[in-house]
C-alpha cells in the first residue's frame, strides 16, 4: 500500500519534471519547435537545454541539501538560503570576481570550491554561536543564521560597490538567483557533484533517520551523533555551495521541496531523498518557466520567483508552529 503510493508519487513527479523541461525549453522570446532539438538547433542545444538542465539540477541539489539540514538540526525551517549558507557562497564569489578576476564575470571551476569555503565558514561561525555546552539549539541556529546572513550580504554589497556598473548588475542579478554558468560544463559539474554527494548521503540515509529522532535515541541505537552530524552537514553544505556557484542566492527551494515531500512520502529518508531531488527539480523548472514568460520581454531571475512562492509558504510554517 505504502510502497504503491510511493511509486505513484515518484512517477507523477518524474512526469511533471519531463513536462516542465519540455515547456521550459520553449519558454523564451523566440518559440522553437522541440523537434529541432534532434536536428541540432544551436539555440536549443547550446543555450536553452543546458540552462534548463542546470535549473533542474540546482533545484534537486538545494532540495537535498535542505532536507539533510532539517534532519540533522531537527529544525523544519533549516535551509541553505535562510541559514545564510548561500550568502557565504555569494560573498566568496563576489570577492573572487573583484580581486582575482579583476571584475571579469566569466565562470570558473574555482567558483564551487570558493563557494564551499564561504558557505562552510559561515556555517561554522553560526554553529559556534548557536551551541552551548556542546549542544546546538536549532532555534538559535536559525536566528543566528538570519542575522549572519544579513551581515554577510552587506559585506557582499560593499564589495559590489567597487565593481564597474556592468559587473555590479551582473553580481546583483546573480545574488537574486539567476542561473548562470549554464553551459554544458556547468551541467556536467552539477550532475557529477550532485550524483556523487547525493548517493553518499542516500547510502547513509538510515543514519539520517536515527539523527532525526534526536540525540538520545540516536546514541541509543549506536550512532555517534556529533561525528555523523558533521559528515552530513559537510555534504549538505557542499551540495548547496555547488548549486549556489551556478544558481546564485536561491532561497526557499530547500525549504519548500522537502516539506512537500514529507507530506507526500513521509519523513523516512530512504523514501524522502529521491522524492526531494525530483520535487526540487520540478519546482525550480516551473519557477523558471514563470520567470521567463510572465514578464516578457524581461526575464526575471528565477530566485525572485522562488522567493515569491517560498516566502508565503515559510510564513505559513511559522504560523503553524
Amino acid at each position: 500500500m505504502k510502497r504503491k503510493r510511493y511509486a505513484l508519487t515518484c512517477t507523477i513527479l518524474i512526469l511533471l519534471l519531463i513536462a516542465g523541461i519540455a515547456l521550459d525549453l520553449n519558454a523564451g522570446y523566440a518559440k522553437i519547435p522541440l523537434s529541432e532539438l534532434f536536428t541540432g538547433n544551436p539555440v536549443l542545444l547550446n543555450l536553452r537545454l543546458p540552462r534548463v538542465l542546470a535549473c533542474v539540477l540546482v533545484g534537486a541539489g538545494l532540495s537535498l541539501s535542505g532536507s539533510v539540514l532539517q534532519g540533522v538540526t531537527r529544525n523544519d525551517m533549516a535551509e541553505p538560503g535562510l541559514l545564510g549558507i548561500n550568502a557565504g557562497a555569494g560573498l566568496a564569489i563576489a570577492a573572487y570576481i573583484l580581486f582575482v578576476q579583476g571584475g571579469h564575470t566569466n565562470y570558473s571551476v574555482m567558483m564551487p570550491i570558493l563557494a564551499f569555503i564561504g558557505s562552510g565558514t559561515v556555517f561554522l561561525i553560526e554553529y559556534r554561536l548557536a551551541s552551548k555546552n556542546g549542544k546546538v539549539s536549532s532555534k538559535k541556529l536559525l536566528l543566528v543564521g538570519v542575522a549572519i546572513s544579513l551581515a554577510v550580504s552587506s559585506l557582499t554589497t560593499i564589495l559590489m560597490l567597487r565593481m564597474p556598473d556592468s559587473e555590479y548588475a551582473f553580481v546583483q542579478n546573480w545574488i537574486a538567483g539567476n542561473i548562470w554558468g549554464a553551459d554544458w560544463q556547468g551541467v556536467i559539474m552539477l550532475t557529477v557533484g550532485i550524483l556523487l554527494i547525493g548517493s553518499v548521503i542516500y547510502y547513509f540515509s538510515r543514519t539520517l533517520n536515527g539523527l532525526m529522532l534526536g540525540h538520545s535515541i540516536a546514541v541509543g541505537i549506536g550512532i555517534d551523533p556529533p561525528k555523523a552530524s558533521r559528515r552530513f552537514l559537510t555534504g549538505a553544505i557542499a551540495l548547496s555551495a555547488l548549486c549556489a556557484s551556478v544558481g546564485g542566492g536561491l532561497s526557499f527551494i530547500g525549504l519548500i521541496a522537502p516539506h512537500l515531500c514529507r507530506r507526500l512520502v513521509g519523513p523516512n529518508y530512504q523514501n524522502l531523498l529521491p522524492a526531494c531531488a525530483l520535487c526540487g527539480g520540478v519546482i525550480m523548472v516551473f519557477a523558471d518557466i514563470i520567470s521567463r514568460t510572465w514578464f516578457l520581454p524581461y526575464e526575471m531571475p528565477v530566485g525572485i520567483t522562488a522567493a515569491i512562492i517560498g516566502a508565503p509558504y515559510f510564513l505559513y510554517l511559522l504560523v503553524k508552529e
Partner: protein, 288 residues
C-alpha cells in the same frame, strides 16, 4: 582480561560477596554531569541481571542523569560503567547498542512516520551499508510489535497515536534492538493510571518471558514497589537506600528520601507494600 576487570570491579564494590557478576550493569565511582555542573559527584551503582530495577527520588536528585550516564547519552566525567562486566568505554557504540536499549524521556517522532518504520529503526545496530531490512530483521520487527500490541497500529503514524499507544510503539523500537538490557527514563509520565499500569505490565511481561533486565526511572512509588524487584532511592546525587520493595517502602526511608510522613500497608491484592496516605513532614511540624 575481562575476568580481571570484573574482579577489580568487585573488589572496589567490597559489599559484593559474589564471585561471578550477577549484575547486568555496574557503575563504579561515577561522576556525571554537564560541563560546568556536576549532578552526581561520586556514585557506585549496580543493576541486577534479569530483574526490574526502579530508580526513585525527588525531582532534581539526578535519577535521569544517572540513567543517561549509564546509557552513554551523556559522558561520565570519571569512573567506569561496566556492561556485563566489561568497561563500556572500550566498546564500539554499535556493539553497546546490541546489548543495551534506551527509551529517553518524551521522545518525539517526526510527523507521518509509521509505527513499523519507527520500530524498524531499532534494527540499526545490526545493519550494514544501505541497510535494507533482512528477513530476520523483519521478523524481529513484527515480533516486537506483537509483544507490545502495536501490530494493529503498524501503518499508523506515530505522532497521531494516543499517549499510551505511542509509548508502546517506542518500547517496540527498543525491543527491536533485541538487547538483554532496556533502560527507560520515566516511561509512565503523562499517562493516565490505566495506561501507566499497561506499560508496567508490558515491562513485567518482557522481564519474565524474555528475561530482559529492565531499569527505569519512575515517580509513582506505589507502582515502583509493585513492579520492581529492586529499588534504588536517590537524593541530591547520591544513593541513600537500595533494596527490595519491602526494604525501601518504609516510613523511615520515605522520610529520608522524600521528607514524607507516609502510612505504608501491605496491598491485599499484590502483597506489596503500598502507601495508603502521606503528608509533608514540614507541615506536620508546623501543626504541632
Amino acid at each position: 582480561m575481562n575476568e580481571t576487570v570484573t574482579q577489580e570491579a568487585q573488589n572496589s564494590l567490597s559489599s559484593n560477596p559474589e564471585t561471578s557478576t550477577p549484575y547486568a550493569m555496574q557503575g563504579i565511582q561515577l561522576k556525571i554531569g554537564y560541563s560546568q555542573k556536576t549532578i552526581i559527584p561520586e556514585m557506585s551503582v549496580r543493576i541486577p541481571r534479569g530483574a526490574i530495577t526502579s530508580i526513585i527520588g525527588p525531582n532534581g536528585c539526578g535519577k535521569s542523569t544517572l540513567l543517561k550516564g549509564l546509557a552513554r547519552i551523556i559522558p561520565v566525567q570519571s569512573g567506569t560503567v561496566l556492561l556485563e562486566g566489561k568497561p563500556m568505554k572500550d566498546m564500539p557504540t554499535k556493539m553497546i547498542a546490541r546489548q543495551l536499549a534506551l527509551l529517553p524521556q518524551g521522545p518525539e517522532a517526526p510527523a507521518g512516520l509509521s509505527v513499523r518504520e519507527l520500530v524498524s529503526f531499532g534494527r540499526y545496530p545490526y545493519q550494514k551499508g544501505f541497510g535494507t531490512l533482512s528477513k530476520k530483521d523483519r521478523e524481529i520487527v513484527e515480533e516486537a510489535m506483537r509483544a507490545t500490541r502495536t501490530d494493529m497500529l503498524a501503518d499508523r503514524a506515530v505522532d497521531q497515536l494516543s499517549g499510551g499507544q505511542r509509548q508502546r510503539a517506542w518500547i517496540a523500537m527498543a525491543l527491536a534492538q533485541d538487547t538483554p538490557i532496556i533502560l527507560l527514563d520515566e516511561p509512565t509520565t503523562y499517562l493516565d493510571m490505566a495506561h501507566q499500569l499497561e506499560i508496567l505490565e508490558l515491562l513485567q511481561r518482557l522481564n519474565r518471558e524474555k528475561k530482559k533486565t529492565i531499569a527505569l526511572v519512575i515517580h509513582d512509588l506505589n507502582l515502583a514497589a509493585r513492579f520492581s524487584d529492586y529499588l534504588i532511592a536517590m537524593k541530591d546525587g547520591e544513593i541513600l537506600h537500595e533494596g527490595t520493595a519491602e526494604q525501601i517502602m518504609t516510613p523511615s526511608v520515605l522520610r529520608d528520601v522524600f521528607s514524607l510522613d507516609a502510612l505504608v500497608e501491605q496491598d491485599p491484592w499484590t502483597n506489596k507494600p503500598t502507601m495508603i496516605s502521606y503528608r509533608l513532614l514540614k507541615d506536620e511540624n508546623q501543626s504541632k
